[in-house]
């Protein structure tokens, strides 16, 4: 029998949700042994197609061919039996269980932990994915957790491995390590379908690319022959607006500062903040880099006042101490905050946008709640202004927050705070999971705010974003913050070293001296 030219062919796939055509005649072909990039903005329909290939959704029409034969994939189990493995963006691991126990949950057949542990150790060694089978997941870094998911797939000897934005949570060094593994897999004949926003790494890693926009394929190309800019242009359908930054004013005064801010861990999976120092001047953007789970959310809580600190002078805004007071009082002092989670933290999913305006604006803008009475008209007016200024796209006039796409909701949540013209703005992961067009809008707005004299702090895991935005860069690792260095003195390698904790000892001895 002649080997079929393609391992997987999804031909003319249509998927309709209600009135939305999430996939509109999408065709994707993956050859054996190739690393195939699947590019597109958020909401372009990438996950929809991938879920159909993995059997968790079913096409409205169109055919899927596997090794040249037409197949119907009713559920993920069937997909795994065919030889399709998938690593999701959000891991499904039990933190209290060990690595081997987690993997055993997904394995068919008899439960034999000892044999499985041996196999896990063997596979992880073979593919350069170091893992200790008896380690408890709660103690592992995000990179290690991702390795568990990958090893779990590899144990089933897949012919196609699907990865959904795998490097979003990794350090540059960890990402490099992952690429080695993927190239090795491909050389052994296993195809990889690689979903990513990061154009540079797609160029480095992938043999071919399919680009999706609004549910339709707009191009198939060889990414090595394209530039990051040309790929982005295909994805967004226009020139991506590059961020323009004016010079940082030299004489900015310190508007926001942290002095030896410490905060105890809240539970077993939370990080303790240790002696954090930071001065942010008016006019500049400071980025705090770091791998997820190193104290970013704790730092955000401490800065915003969701968890007030024991010492009042640990945080100050425009010279006034505010460490011990809550988030409402800090907003009144002119600060604004945007948390990492859009749904359920930055916005109430079931509330209309105008009601979500009240969420953070009820206290600083007294006219929204005069003597405890809400002025809904005023809230709607603010919502409309934010929607217009920041190009928030939506179906209805005042939709529920959860019905917006991630990028549009993020534009709204950031815009809601920018609309106040805050003196200090702190944003955690400003463009996480946001498409290139929306990300550029948000970044430009952050820089513009800084240049108008405000102090801006951006906590981010995205190095491209950090280099695009930041005037100075600090790195957080295990609850300790490095000194902030001017951005032009920093490189990805230097940041990677700091992410791995190069500054920690230094900071500790510094703290001991003072």
């Amino acid at each position: 029998m002649k080997a079929p030219e393609y391992l997987l062919e999804a031909i003319d796939i249509v998927k309709v949700f209600g009135t939305l055509r999430a996939n509109d005649g999408v065709t994707l072909r993956v050859a054996p042994g190739e690393i195939h990039a699947f590019l597109g903005e958020n909401g372009a329909g990438k996950s929809t197609l991938v879920k159909m290939i993995y059997g968790s959704l079913h096409p409205t029409s169109g055919t899927i061919k596997w090794m040249g034969k037409e197949v119907v994939i009713p559920n993920p189990n069937a997909a795994r039996k065919l030889g399709i493995g998938m690593v999701f963006q959000h891991f499904s691991l039990f933190e209290a269980l060990s690595v081997a126990e987690n993997i055993s949950l997904a394995m068919p057949g008899k439960f034999d932990l000892a044999a499985l542990s041996k196999k896990v150790a063997q596979v992880s060694k073979e593919y350069g994915l170091p893992l200790n089978p008896s380690a408890t997941v709660a103690d592992l870094s995000v990179g290690e957790r991702q390795r568990i998911e990958i090893v779990r797939c590899l144990l089933q000897e897949p012919k196609l491995l699907i990865l959904d934005e795998p490097t979003a949570v990794l350090t540059p060094q960890e990402a490099d390590q992952l690429f080695v593994t993927l190239k090795r897999l491909a050389s052994e004949g296993c195809s990889v379908l690689y979903i990513s926003h990061r154009l540079e790494e797609v160029k480095r890693l992938c043999h071919s690319a399919t680009i999706l926009r609004h549910g339709k394929v707009v191009a198939s190309c060889d990414p090595a022959k394209e530039t990051a800019a040309s790929l982005a242009k295909l994805m967004v359908g226009g020139d991506v607006h590059t961020v323009r930054a004016a010079k940082v004013p030299k004489d900015g005064v310190v508007r926001f500062s942290l002095k030896d801010a410490s905060l105890e861990a809240e539970g077993p999976f939370s990080v303790e903040l240790k002696n954090i120092n930071l001065d942010v001047r008016g006019g500049e953007v400071i980025a705090i880099a770091g791998v997820a789970g190193n104290g970013q959310s704790e730092l955000f809580d401490a800065i915003s006042g969701e968890r007030p600190l024991p010492r009042g002078d640990a945080v100050s805004i425009d010279g006034a101490s505010c460490g011990a007071i809550g988030v409402i009082a800090r907003r009144r002092m002119g600060a604004a905050f945007v948390p990492e989670e859009r749904l359920g933290h930055g916005a109430v999913p079931a509330f209309a946008l105008s009601e979500n305006v009240v969420l953070t604006r009820h206290s600083d803008d007294d006219s929204l709640a005069v003597k405890g009475l809400l002025d809904r008209g005023k809230a709607s007016a603010i919502a409309e202004r934010v929607i217009k200024t920041y190009d928030v796209r939506k179906g209805k006039p005042d939709p529920e927050a959860r019905s917006l796409s991630g990028g549009n909701l993020q534009k709204f949540v950031v815009g809601r705070e920018l609309d106040r013209n805050p003196k200090v703005l702190v944003v955690n992961q400003p463009t996480w999971g946001v498409d290139a067009g929306a990300a550029a809008t948000i970044r430009q707005a952050l820089i513009d705010l800084a240049r108008s004299g405000s102090a801006v702090v951006v906590i981010s895991q995205d190095l491209d974003e950090i280099f695009e935005l930041a005037d100075r860069i600090a790195v957080i690792s295990r609850g300790q913050l490095s000194e902030a260095h001017p951005a032009h003195e920093m490189t990805a390698e230097k940041i990677g070293l700091l992410m791995a904790g190069a500054h920690e000892k230094l900071e500790a001895s510094h703290a001991a001296r003072s």
Binding site: G18, H58, W66, M67, K69, E70, V71, V72, I73, P74, N75, A78, K81, L82, G83, K159, S304, G305, E306, G326, V327, I328, R331, F337, P339, E341, G344, H345, G346, A347, V348, P349, A350, F351, E355, V358, L359, T360, H362, S363, A369, G372, L373, L374, G395, K396, P399, E400, R402, S403
Partner: protein, 359 residues
């Protein structure tokens, strides 16, 4: 074909209103089947149960009298549940409100002017509120589950009342019956002619006030945010601890007011049994009323009908008045089931048969 629940992008406004009516219809059908199983003509059974009580003046009055405590308690619980605070112990707060509110007439039986009524009502409210503060404190201090603590305190209150009326508060001239002295004159709520008493007005006012609170005020917004997305509530600067306390004080106070209103009207004295489970039935009232203060008003009337219909069914059809509890249970079941339709739609999809090829 297989049934699939598909998530809607927005809440369905239609089913948010239609769901309780659909639940009611399904309850009637289920009720008809129960009657048929007992050999009773379903239509006749449903007529006796749900329609006949509405055809006579005295039974309509009874309906309003029974709806009064249900609405007073239910509207407070609706606010609690909206904030994701689970007060299940309204029956206990009702009992404690009745006890504390009765201190004045029991201690000073000769006190006869309008001021005693005011004192009784205020003390009833305060008694229920403070009793509700116990599970709230346990929750905020020790993170004890308020569902369990508030429920257990129901039995504590019930036994305390039992001890009072058999012991220190027993009417010396009461032929050894476990009752206090009978309240009279200004110790009783004035009525609107027949049996409907001032408590009905309190219930209406409570609904109006809480409807205003939820729709127009920052406090109402805070309640909804805290219940909907606690993390977002913290981000907005709202305190979860204060909200738990607020909800228990409010719903406990309203339950206490309902308790003293019952004692100072229908019951006219303290005795071991002062409520046929109004505090528990009000949980159904709150959900049937969509956790909406105005909806609670209608839901309270419907639940009151289930009590009166149960009595009518016992008399006319000769079946146990436990049927009322059965109907209440079926109703709550269907409401919760139908509420799924607010966030999901039902779709039929062709069954997919697996086709696998070997490589």
């Amino acid at each position: 074909m297989q049934l699939v629940l598909e998530k809607r992008s927005d809440r369905s406004k239609f089913f948010a209103i239609a769901s309780p009516f659909l639940a009611l219809l399904l309850t009637l059908i289920a009720g008809g089947l129960i009657f048929a199983a007992r050999g009773i003509n379903p239509l006749e059974g449903l007529y006796v149960y749900f329609v006949e009580p509405l055809t006579q003046v005295w039974s309509v009055e009874q309906l309003i009298v029974k709806a009064t405590p249900l609405v007073l308690i239910g509207v407070g619980l609706a606010v609690c549940y909206m904030a994701n605070v689970w007060n299940i112990g309204a029956e206990g707060q009702l009992t404690m409100g009745a006890i504390v509110g009765s201190i004045a007439p029991v201690m000073f039986p000769a006190w006869q002017d309008p001021s005693i009524l005011v004192v009784m009502l205020i003390m009833g409210f305060v008694g229920g509120a403070l009793y509700g503060a116990i599970p709230a404190l346990l929750k905020t201090r020790f993170n004890a589950n308020e569902i369990l603590t508030s429920l257990m305190l129901v039995y504590v209150a019930g036994l305390f009342l039992d001890w009072l009326v058999r012991g220190p508060w027993r009417d010396p001239k009461g032929f050894n019956f476990p009752v206090t002295t009978t309240f009279e004159g200004w110790q009783l709520l004035p009525t609107f002619g027949g049996t409907i008493h001032l408590g009905a007005l309190f219930a209406l006012l409570a609904c109006a006030a809480l409807a205003f609170l939820m729709a127009k005020t920052l406090k109402g917004f805070e309640i909804k945010v805290t219940g909907n997305a606690p993390r977002a509530g913290r981000f907005a600067g709202f305190s979860r601890e204060k909200m738990v306390m607020f909800c228990f004080l409010l719903s406990g106070g309203l339950a206490g007011l309902a308790g003293i209103s019952e004692v100072a009207s229908v019951v006219t004295k303290l005795q071991p049994q002062i409520s046929p489970g109004y505090g528990f039935a009000a949980i159904i009232v709150a959900f049937l009323g969509r956790l909406n203060p105005i909806g609670v008003l209608f839901a309270g009337l419907l639940l009151a009908l289930s009590y009166i219909g149960g009595e009518a069914a016992q008399v006319t059809l000769g079946i146990s008045d436990k049927i009322a509890k059965v109907f209440q249970g079926i109703l709550l079941f269907f409401i919760l089931a139908c509420d799924t339709l607010i966030l999901y739609r039902i779709k039929f999809e062709p069954t997919i048969k697996p086709v696998l090829v070997k490589g």
